[in-house]
Amino acid sequence: MGLTLLSRRDPLASSEGQLKRLAAAKACPPFQEKLVAAGIDPLHATGITVFQINVGKFCNQSCRHCHVDAGPERTEQMTRETAELCIRALSQTDIPTVDITGGAPELNPNFRWLVEQARALERHVIDRCNLTVLLLKPQADLAGFLARNRVEVVASLPYFLSAQTDAQRGDGVFEKSILAMQMLNGLGYGVDGSGLALNLVHNPVGAFLPAKQDAAESQFRRELSRRHGVTFNHLYTITNMPISRFLDFLIESGNYESYMERLANAFNPTAAAGVMCRYTLSVGWEGTLYDCDFNQMLDMPLADGAPRHIRDFDTAKLNTRRIVTANHCYGCTAGSGSSCGGAVS
Protein backbone atom coordinates (compact mmCIF):
# COMPACT_ATOMS: atom_id res chain seq x y z
CA MET A 1 0.00 0.00 0.00
CA GLY A 2 1.06 3.55 -0.66
CA LEU A 3 2.27 6.02 1.91
CA THR A 4 -0.01 8.49 3.60
CA LEU A 5 -0.73 11.84 1.91
CA LEU A 6 1.14 13.45 4.79
CA SER A 7 4.34 11.51 4.26
CA ARG A 8 4.09 12.13 0.49
CA ARG A 9 3.75 15.84 1.31
CA ASP A 10 0.71 15.92 -0.93
CA PRO A 11 -1.28 19.22 -0.88
CA LEU A 12 -4.37 17.14 -0.04
CA ALA A 13 -2.77 16.22 3.29
CA SER A 14 -3.94 19.60 4.54
CA SER A 15 -7.59 20.32 5.24
CA GLU A 16 -7.20 23.64 3.40
CA GLY A 17 -6.12 21.80 0.26
CA GLN A 18 -9.09 19.47 0.45
CA LEU A 19 -11.68 22.14 1.22
CA LYS A 20 -10.39 24.29 -1.63
CA ARG A 21 -10.79 21.40 -4.04
CA LEU A 22 -14.25 20.54 -2.71
CA ALA A 23 -15.43 24.14 -3.00
CA ALA A 24 -14.19 24.27 -6.59
CA ALA A 25 -16.24 21.28 -7.74
CA LYS A 26 -18.01 22.36 -10.94
CA ALA A 27 -20.34 19.39 -11.18
CA CYS A 28 -22.41 20.16 -8.10
CA PRO A 29 -24.03 23.23 -6.52
CA PRO A 30 -22.86 24.23 -3.02
CA PHE A 31 -24.24 21.68 -0.56
CA GLN A 32 -26.03 24.35 1.43
CA GLU A 33 -28.18 25.21 -1.60
CA LYS A 34 -29.51 21.66 -1.56
CA LEU A 35 -30.36 21.98 2.14
CA VAL A 36 -32.17 25.26 1.46
CA ALA A 37 -34.14 23.70 -1.40
CA ALA A 38 -35.04 20.76 0.85
CA GLY A 39 -36.22 23.17 3.58
CA ILE A 40 -33.76 21.87 6.19
CA ASP A 41 -31.23 24.70 6.31
CA PRO A 42 -29.76 25.35 8.78
CA LEU A 43 -29.32 21.79 9.92
CA HIS A 44 -29.37 21.38 13.70
CA ALA A 45 -28.48 18.57 16.06
CA THR A 46 -31.39 16.70 17.63
CA GLY A 47 -29.51 15.57 20.74
CA ILE A 48 -26.60 13.19 21.22
CA THR A 49 -27.05 9.44 21.22
CA VAL A 50 -23.59 8.53 19.88
CA PHE A 51 -20.39 9.72 21.56
CA GLN A 52 -17.75 8.99 18.95
CA ILE A 53 -14.12 9.10 20.01
CA ASN A 54 -11.35 9.11 17.41
CA VAL A 55 -8.31 8.05 19.41
CA GLY A 56 -5.77 8.76 16.68
CA LYS A 57 -4.37 8.20 13.22
CA PHE A 58 -1.98 5.34 13.89
CA CYS A 59 -2.97 2.21 11.97
CA ASN A 60 -1.35 -1.03 10.84
CA GLN A 61 -2.94 -0.53 7.39
CA SER A 62 -2.89 2.25 4.78
CA CYS A 63 -6.15 1.78 2.87
CA ARG A 64 -6.52 3.65 -0.42
CA HIS A 65 -9.85 5.21 0.50
CA CYS A 66 -9.00 6.18 4.11
CA HIS A 67 -10.65 9.47 5.08
CA VAL A 68 -8.30 9.79 8.07
CA ASP A 69 -5.06 9.42 6.06
CA ALA A 70 -4.14 6.91 8.73
CA GLY A 71 -1.14 4.61 8.56
CA PRO A 72 1.78 3.05 10.41
CA GLU A 73 3.82 6.25 10.18
CA ARG A 74 1.17 8.44 11.83
CA THR A 75 1.94 9.30 15.44
CA GLU A 76 -1.16 11.24 16.54
CA GLN A 77 -2.66 9.41 19.54
CA MET A 78 -5.15 10.43 22.21
CA THR A 79 -3.46 10.72 25.62
CA ARG A 80 -4.78 9.29 28.89
CA GLU A 81 -5.52 12.83 30.05
CA THR A 82 -7.81 13.48 27.08
CA ALA A 83 -9.34 10.02 27.42
CA GLU A 84 -10.14 10.86 31.05
CA LEU A 85 -11.84 14.07 29.93
CA CYS A 86 -13.96 12.01 27.55
CA ILE A 87 -15.05 9.65 30.32
CA ARG A 88 -15.73 12.55 32.67
CA ALA A 89 -17.95 14.21 30.05
CA LEU A 90 -19.68 10.94 29.29
CA SER A 91 -20.41 10.35 32.97
CA GLN A 92 -22.35 13.63 33.06
CA THR A 93 -24.78 12.33 30.43
CA ASP A 94 -26.99 9.41 29.59
CA ILE A 95 -25.62 9.07 26.05
CA PRO A 96 -26.15 5.35 25.41
CA THR A 97 -23.44 4.57 22.83
CA VAL A 98 -19.68 5.10 22.77
CA ASP A 99 -18.21 4.57 19.30
CA ILE A 100 -14.40 4.24 19.28
CA THR A 101 -12.58 4.75 16.00
CA GLY A 102 -9.18 5.71 14.57
CA GLY A 103 -6.79 4.74 12.87
CA ALA A 104 -6.79 1.32 14.37
CA PRO A 105 -8.25 2.37 17.74
CA GLU A 106 -7.10 -0.80 19.48
CA LEU A 107 -3.46 0.25 18.97
CA ASN A 108 -3.89 3.31 21.18
CA PRO A 109 -2.42 2.45 24.62
CA ASN A 110 -5.56 3.89 26.25
CA PHE A 111 -8.08 1.94 24.17
CA ARG A 112 -8.74 -0.81 26.71
CA TRP A 113 -8.98 1.68 29.56
CA LEU A 114 -11.55 3.67 27.59
CA VAL A 115 -13.58 0.54 26.86
CA GLU A 116 -13.55 -0.56 30.50
CA GLN A 117 -14.50 2.88 31.77
CA ALA A 118 -17.35 3.26 29.28
CA ARG A 119 -18.62 -0.22 30.13
CA ALA A 120 -18.40 0.63 33.85
CA LEU A 121 -20.75 3.52 33.04
CA GLU A 122 -23.01 0.88 31.44
CA ARG A 123 -22.71 2.32 27.96
CA HIS A 124 -22.86 0.29 24.77
CA VAL A 125 -19.37 0.32 23.22
CA ILE A 126 -18.55 -0.02 19.52
CA ASP A 127 -15.05 -0.81 18.26
CA ARG A 128 -14.46 0.17 14.61
CA CYS A 129 -12.06 -2.61 13.77
CA ASN A 130 -9.99 -3.25 10.64
CA LEU A 131 -9.94 -7.00 11.50
CA THR A 132 -6.23 -7.52 10.73
CA VAL A 133 -5.31 -5.84 14.02
CA LEU A 134 -6.73 -8.90 15.76
CA LEU A 135 -3.95 -11.02 14.24
CA LEU A 136 -1.04 -8.86 15.39
CA LYS A 137 1.05 -10.79 17.89
CA PRO A 138 0.95 -8.13 20.65
CA GLN A 139 -2.86 -8.12 20.26
CA ALA A 140 -3.31 -11.86 20.70
CA ASP A 141 -5.72 -11.30 23.61
CA LEU A 142 -7.66 -8.46 21.94
CA ALA A 143 -10.58 -10.50 20.62
CA GLY A 144 -11.05 -12.07 24.06
CA PHE A 145 -10.93 -8.64 25.69
CA LEU A 146 -13.64 -7.34 23.34
CA ALA A 147 -15.82 -10.37 24.00
CA ARG A 148 -15.44 -10.15 27.79
CA ASN A 149 -16.49 -6.50 27.68
CA ARG A 150 -19.41 -7.22 25.32
CA VAL A 151 -18.04 -4.73 22.80
CA GLU A 152 -19.84 -4.52 19.45
CA VAL A 153 -17.34 -5.04 16.63
CA VAL A 154 -17.98 -3.04 13.48
CA ALA A 155 -15.48 -4.44 11.00
CA SER A 156 -14.40 -3.18 7.61
CA LEU A 157 -14.83 -5.59 4.72
CA PRO A 158 -15.44 -3.88 1.39
CA TYR A 159 -16.23 -7.04 -0.56
CA PHE A 160 -16.53 -10.80 -0.18
CA LEU A 161 -13.69 -11.44 -2.65
CA SER A 162 -9.96 -10.95 -2.20
CA ALA A 163 -9.23 -8.97 -5.40
CA GLN A 164 -11.54 -6.10 -4.51
CA THR A 165 -10.74 -6.12 -0.79
CA ASP A 166 -6.98 -6.17 -1.32
CA ALA A 167 -7.20 -3.46 -3.99
CA GLN A 168 -8.69 -1.12 -1.39
CA ARG A 169 -7.02 -2.26 1.82
CA GLY A 170 -3.70 -3.83 0.84
CA ASP A 171 -2.28 -7.14 -0.33
CA GLY A 172 -3.23 -10.06 1.87
CA VAL A 173 -5.78 -8.12 3.90
CA PHE A 174 -8.73 -10.21 2.72
CA GLU A 175 -7.19 -13.50 3.81
CA LYS A 176 -6.30 -12.08 7.23
CA SER A 177 -9.77 -10.54 7.55
CA ILE A 178 -11.38 -13.93 6.99
CA LEU A 179 -9.11 -15.49 9.63
CA ALA A 180 -10.03 -12.72 12.06
CA MET A 181 -13.75 -13.16 11.42
CA GLN A 182 -13.44 -16.91 11.92
CA MET A 183 -11.70 -16.19 15.24
CA LEU A 184 -14.49 -13.79 16.24
CA ASN A 185 -17.13 -16.34 15.24
CA GLY A 186 -15.32 -18.84 17.45
CA LEU A 187 -15.83 -16.50 20.41
CA GLY A 188 -19.52 -16.16 19.60
CA TYR A 189 -19.34 -12.94 17.60
CA GLY A 190 -21.90 -12.87 14.81
CA VAL A 191 -23.52 -16.02 16.14
CA ASP A 192 -27.25 -15.92 16.88
CA GLY A 193 -28.10 -15.81 20.56
CA SER A 194 -24.61 -14.90 21.79
CA GLY A 195 -25.32 -11.22 22.26
CA LEU A 196 -21.94 -10.47 20.68
CA ALA A 197 -22.50 -8.31 17.60
CA LEU A 198 -20.23 -8.52 14.57
CA ASN A 199 -21.35 -6.03 11.96
CA LEU A 200 -19.56 -5.47 8.68
CA VAL A 201 -18.94 -2.24 6.79
CA HIS A 202 -18.97 -2.24 3.00
CA ASN A 203 -17.39 0.68 1.14
CA PRO A 204 -17.46 0.56 -2.66
CA VAL A 205 -14.09 -0.28 -4.15
CA GLY A 206 -14.08 2.67 -6.54
CA ALA A 207 -15.90 5.78 -7.68
CA PHE A 208 -19.46 4.55 -7.43
CA LEU A 209 -22.25 4.38 -4.87
CA PRO A 210 -22.82 1.35 -2.63
CA ALA A 211 -25.49 -1.23 -3.37
CA LYS A 212 -28.76 -1.16 -1.47
CA GLN A 213 -27.96 -2.26 2.06
CA ASP A 214 -30.43 -5.13 2.34
CA ALA A 215 -29.44 -6.57 -1.05
CA ALA A 216 -25.72 -6.27 -0.27
CA GLU A 217 -26.22 -7.85 3.16
CA SER A 218 -27.94 -10.89 1.63
CA GLN A 219 -25.18 -11.23 -0.96
CA PHE A 220 -22.37 -10.95 1.62
CA ARG A 221 -24.12 -13.36 4.00
CA ARG A 222 -24.57 -15.97 1.30
CA GLU A 223 -21.06 -15.66 -0.14
CA LEU A 224 -19.12 -15.43 3.14
CA SER A 225 -20.98 -18.42 4.53
CA ARG A 226 -20.58 -20.50 1.36
CA ARG A 227 -16.95 -19.66 0.72
CA HIS A 228 -15.54 -19.30 4.25
CA GLY A 229 -18.14 -20.45 6.77
CA VAL A 230 -18.20 -16.94 8.25
CA THR A 231 -21.31 -15.43 9.86
CA PHE A 232 -22.14 -11.87 10.90
CA ASN A 233 -25.10 -9.88 12.15
CA HIS A 234 -25.59 -6.91 9.82
CA LEU A 235 -23.87 -5.24 6.89
CA TYR A 236 -23.64 -1.45 6.79
CA THR A 237 -23.15 0.21 3.42
CA ILE A 238 -21.11 3.41 3.60
CA THR A 239 -20.52 5.81 0.71
CA ASN A 240 -16.90 6.80 0.17
CA MET A 241 -16.45 10.40 1.26
CA PRO A 242 -14.67 12.65 -1.27
CA ILE A 243 -11.95 13.68 1.17
CA SER A 244 -8.36 12.71 1.98
CA ARG A 245 -7.04 9.58 0.23
CA PHE A 246 -10.30 8.86 -1.59
CA LEU A 247 -10.30 12.43 -2.90
CA ASP A 248 -6.74 11.83 -4.07
CA PHE A 249 -7.87 8.66 -5.85
CA LEU A 250 -10.78 10.51 -7.49
CA ILE A 251 -8.53 13.23 -8.82
CA GLU A 252 -5.73 10.91 -9.94
CA SER A 253 -8.16 8.58 -11.73
CA GLY A 254 -10.05 11.43 -13.45
CA ASN A 255 -13.27 10.58 -11.60
CA TYR A 256 -13.56 13.60 -9.32
CA GLU A 257 -16.12 15.74 -11.16
CA SER A 258 -18.25 12.79 -12.28
CA TYR A 259 -18.30 11.40 -8.72
CA MET A 260 -19.36 14.76 -7.26
CA GLU A 261 -22.05 15.00 -9.93
CA ARG A 262 -23.20 11.47 -9.09
CA LEU A 263 -23.42 12.34 -5.37
CA ALA A 264 -25.25 15.62 -6.00
CA ASN A 265 -27.71 14.08 -8.49
CA ALA A 266 -28.48 11.38 -5.93
CA PHE A 267 -29.14 13.93 -3.13
CA ASN A 268 -31.95 12.53 -1.00
CA PRO A 269 -33.75 15.05 1.27
CA THR A 270 -34.98 12.24 3.53
CA ALA A 271 -31.44 10.97 4.00
CA ALA A 272 -30.26 14.57 4.58
CA ALA A 273 -32.81 15.01 7.36
CA GLY A 274 -31.53 11.86 9.08
CA VAL A 275 -27.76 12.29 8.79
CA MET A 276 -25.68 10.99 11.69
CA CYS A 277 -24.16 14.36 12.62
CA ARG A 278 -27.57 15.32 14.01
CA TYR A 279 -27.28 12.74 16.80
CA THR A 280 -23.49 12.26 17.08
CA LEU A 281 -20.73 14.13 18.84
CA SER A 282 -17.25 13.45 17.47
CA VAL A 283 -14.19 13.92 19.68
CA GLY A 284 -10.75 14.22 18.06
CA TRP A 285 -7.53 12.74 19.42
CA GLU A 286 -6.63 16.16 20.90
CA GLY A 287 -10.07 16.56 22.49
CA THR A 288 -11.47 18.96 19.92
CA LEU A 289 -15.20 18.54 19.23
CA TYR A 290 -16.74 18.06 15.79
CA ASP A 291 -20.09 17.21 14.23
CA CYS A 292 -18.68 14.04 12.65
CA ASP A 293 -15.46 12.18 11.91
CA PHE A 294 -15.35 13.65 8.39
CA ASN A 295 -15.55 17.24 9.63
CA GLN A 296 -12.85 16.26 12.10
CA MET A 297 -10.51 15.25 9.27
CA LEU A 298 -11.25 18.54 7.50
CA ASP A 299 -10.52 20.55 10.66
CA MET A 300 -14.06 21.94 10.65
CA PRO A 301 -14.85 22.43 14.36
CA LEU A 302 -18.29 23.01 15.84
CA ALA A 303 -20.21 26.16 14.93
CA ASP A 304 -19.75 29.38 16.90
CA GLY A 305 -21.40 29.28 20.29
CA ALA A 306 -20.85 25.56 20.86
CA PRO A 307 -18.01 24.29 23.08
CA ARG A 308 -14.90 23.52 21.04
CA HIS A 309 -13.10 21.11 23.40
CA ILE A 310 -14.11 18.12 25.49
CA ARG A 311 -12.94 19.92 28.64
CA ASP A 312 -15.76 22.44 28.00
CA PHE A 313 -18.39 19.75 27.37
CA ASP A 314 -21.89 21.16 27.86
CA THR A 315 -24.83 18.97 26.92
CA ALA A 316 -27.33 21.83 26.69
CA LYS A 317 -25.18 23.79 24.23
CA LEU A 318 -24.31 20.71 22.18
CA ASN A 319 -27.72 19.12 21.89
CA THR A 320 -29.18 21.70 19.51
CA ARG A 321 -26.02 23.07 17.91
CA ARG A 322 -26.00 24.10 14.26
CA ILE A 323 -24.28 21.51 12.07
CA VAL A 324 -21.31 22.71 10.00
CA THR A 325 -21.48 21.54 6.38
CA ALA A 326 -19.49 21.71 3.12
CA ASN A 327 -19.56 19.88 -0.21
CA HIS A 328 -18.19 16.63 1.22
CA CYS A 329 -21.55 16.25 2.99
CA TYR A 330 -23.00 15.08 -0.33
CA GLY A 331 -21.37 11.76 0.57
CA CYS A 332 -23.83 11.24 3.44
CA THR A 333 -26.96 12.35 1.57
CA ALA A 334 -26.69 10.41 -1.70
CA GLY A 335 -29.10 7.63 -2.50
CA SER A 336 -30.16 5.79 0.62
CA GLY A 337 -27.84 8.01 2.65
CA SER A 338 -24.73 6.99 4.54
CA SER A 339 -23.66 6.98 8.15
CA CYS A 340 -21.39 5.05 10.48
CA GLY A 341 -24.44 2.82 10.99
CA GLY A 342 -24.99 2.34 7.27
CA ALA A 343 -27.87 3.52 5.08
CA VAL A 344 -30.09 6.24 6.52
CA SER A 345 -33.36 5.77 4.61
Binding site: L161, A163, P204, F208, L209, P210, A211, K212, A215
Partner: protein, 110 residues
Protein backbone atom coordinates in the same frame (compact mmCIF):
# COMPACT_ATOMS: atom_id res chain seq x y z
CA UNK B 1 -12.36 15.01 -32.77
CA UNK B 2 -15.97 15.02 -33.98
CA UNK B 3 -17.78 11.74 -33.37
CA UNK B 4 -21.43 10.71 -33.35
CA UNK B 5 -21.19 9.64 -29.71
CA UNK B 6 -20.38 11.94 -26.77
CA UNK B 7 -20.35 10.65 -23.16
CA UNK B 8 -21.96 13.85 -21.86
CA UNK B 9 -24.96 13.26 -24.16
CA UNK B 10 -26.07 10.44 -21.84
CA UNK B 11 -27.13 13.02 -19.27
CA UNK B 12 -29.31 14.68 -21.94
CA UNK B 13 -31.42 11.56 -22.40
CA UNK B 14 -34.43 13.21 -20.71
CA UNK B 15 -34.46 15.87 -23.43
CA UNK B 16 -36.22 13.27 -25.55
CA UNK B 17 -39.29 14.19 -23.51
CA UNK B 18 -39.36 17.62 -25.13
CA UNK B 19 -40.54 16.24 -28.46
CA UNK B 20 -43.37 14.19 -26.99
CA UNK B 21 -43.85 14.36 -23.23
CA UNK B 22 -46.60 11.78 -23.08
CA UNK B 23 -44.65 9.06 -24.90
CA UNK B 24 -41.53 9.87 -22.87
CA UNK B 25 -43.39 9.55 -19.60
CA UNK B 26 -44.92 6.27 -20.70
CA UNK B 27 -41.49 4.98 -21.67
CA UNK B 28 -39.86 6.04 -18.40
CA UNK B 29 -42.72 4.60 -16.34
CA UNK B 30 -42.33 1.31 -18.16
CA UNK B 31 -38.52 1.43 -17.92
CA UNK B 32 -38.58 2.03 -14.17
CA UNK B 33 -41.08 -0.78 -13.69
CA UNK B 34 -38.94 -3.18 -15.73
CA UNK B 35 -35.86 -2.54 -13.58
CA UNK B 36 -37.63 -2.64 -10.21
CA UNK B 37 -37.10 -5.62 -7.90
CA UNK B 38 -39.42 -8.41 -9.01
CA UNK B 39 -39.06 -12.10 -9.72
CA UNK B 40 -35.52 -11.09 -10.71
CA UNK B 41 -33.43 -8.91 -8.40
CA UNK B 42 -32.31 -5.43 -9.43
CA UNK B 43 -28.77 -6.79 -9.52
CA UNK B 44 -29.69 -9.61 -11.92
CA UNK B 45 -31.60 -7.21 -14.16
CA UNK B 46 -28.62 -4.87 -14.32
CA UNK B 47 -26.39 -7.77 -15.43
CA UNK B 48 -28.91 -8.70 -18.16
CA UNK B 49 -29.01 -5.04 -19.24
CA UNK B 50 -25.22 -5.00 -19.43
CA UNK B 51 -25.22 -8.08 -21.66
CA UNK B 52 -27.93 -6.62 -23.91
CA UNK B 53 -26.04 -3.30 -24.05
CA UNK B 54 -23.11 -5.18 -25.55
CA UNK B 55 -25.34 -7.14 -27.91
CA UNK B 56 -26.88 -3.94 -29.27
CA UNK B 57 -23.48 -2.22 -28.94
CA UNK B 58 -24.88 0.92 -27.31
CA UNK B 59 -22.00 2.89 -25.73
CA UNK B 60 -24.42 4.92 -23.59
CA UNK B 61 -25.94 1.73 -22.20
CA UNK B 62 -22.53 0.15 -21.60
CA UNK B 63 -21.43 3.28 -19.71
CA UNK B 64 -24.61 3.41 -17.64
CA UNK B 65 -24.92 -0.28 -16.86
CA UNK B 66 -21.24 -0.88 -16.07
CA UNK B 67 -21.63 1.67 -13.27
CA UNK B 68 -25.09 0.40 -12.39
CA UNK B 69 -23.86 -3.20 -12.06
CA UNK B 70 -21.11 -2.09 -9.66
CA UNK B 71 -23.66 -0.08 -7.66
CA UNK B 72 -25.90 -3.15 -7.42
CA UNK B 73 -23.01 -5.13 -5.90
CA UNK B 74 -21.79 -7.08 -8.93
CA UNK B 75 -18.11 -7.61 -9.60
CA UNK B 76 -16.06 -7.54 -12.78
CA UNK B 77 -16.00 -11.34 -13.02
CA UNK B 78 -19.82 -11.48 -13.09
CA UNK B 79 -19.99 -8.56 -15.51
CA UNK B 80 -17.46 -10.23 -17.83
CA UNK B 81 -19.57 -13.39 -17.85
CA UNK B 82 -22.63 -11.29 -18.75
CA UNK B 83 -20.72 -9.87 -21.73
CA UNK B 84 -19.71 -13.40 -22.74
CA UNK B 85 -23.37 -14.42 -22.67
CA UNK B 86 -24.09 -11.59 -25.12
CA UNK B 87 -21.09 -12.64 -27.19
CA UNK B 88 -22.19 -16.28 -27.24
CA UNK B 89 -25.70 -15.39 -28.35
CA UNK B 90 -24.43 -13.02 -31.03
CA UNK B 91 -21.84 -15.57 -32.21
CA UNK B 92 -24.35 -18.39 -31.94
CA UNK B 93 -26.88 -16.46 -33.99
CA UNK B 94 -24.32 -16.18 -36.78
CA UNK B 95 -23.34 -19.80 -36.51
CA UNK B 96 -26.87 -21.16 -36.42
CA UNK B 97 -27.51 -19.39 -39.72
CA UNK B 98 -24.88 -21.76 -41.08
CA UNK B 99 -27.67 -24.33 -41.14
CA UNK B 100 -29.38 -22.13 -43.71
CA UNK B 101 -26.10 -22.06 -45.65
CA UNK B 102 -25.90 -25.83 -45.51
CA UNK B 103 -29.52 -26.14 -46.65
CA UNK B 104 -28.72 -23.98 -49.71
CA UNK B 105 -25.55 -25.93 -50.42
CA UNK B 106 -27.39 -29.24 -50.08
CA UNK B 107 -30.08 -28.10 -52.46
CA UNK B 108 -27.61 -26.86 -55.07
CA UNK B 109 -25.12 -29.66 -54.81
CA UNK B 110 -25.13 -33.07 -56.51
Amino acid sequence: METYYHPHDLSKFAEMGKGNKELWEKFIGYYDAVFAEGALSEREKALIALGVAHAVQCPYCIDAYSQNCLEKGSNVEEMTEAVHVACAIRGGSSLVHGVQMRNVVDKLSM
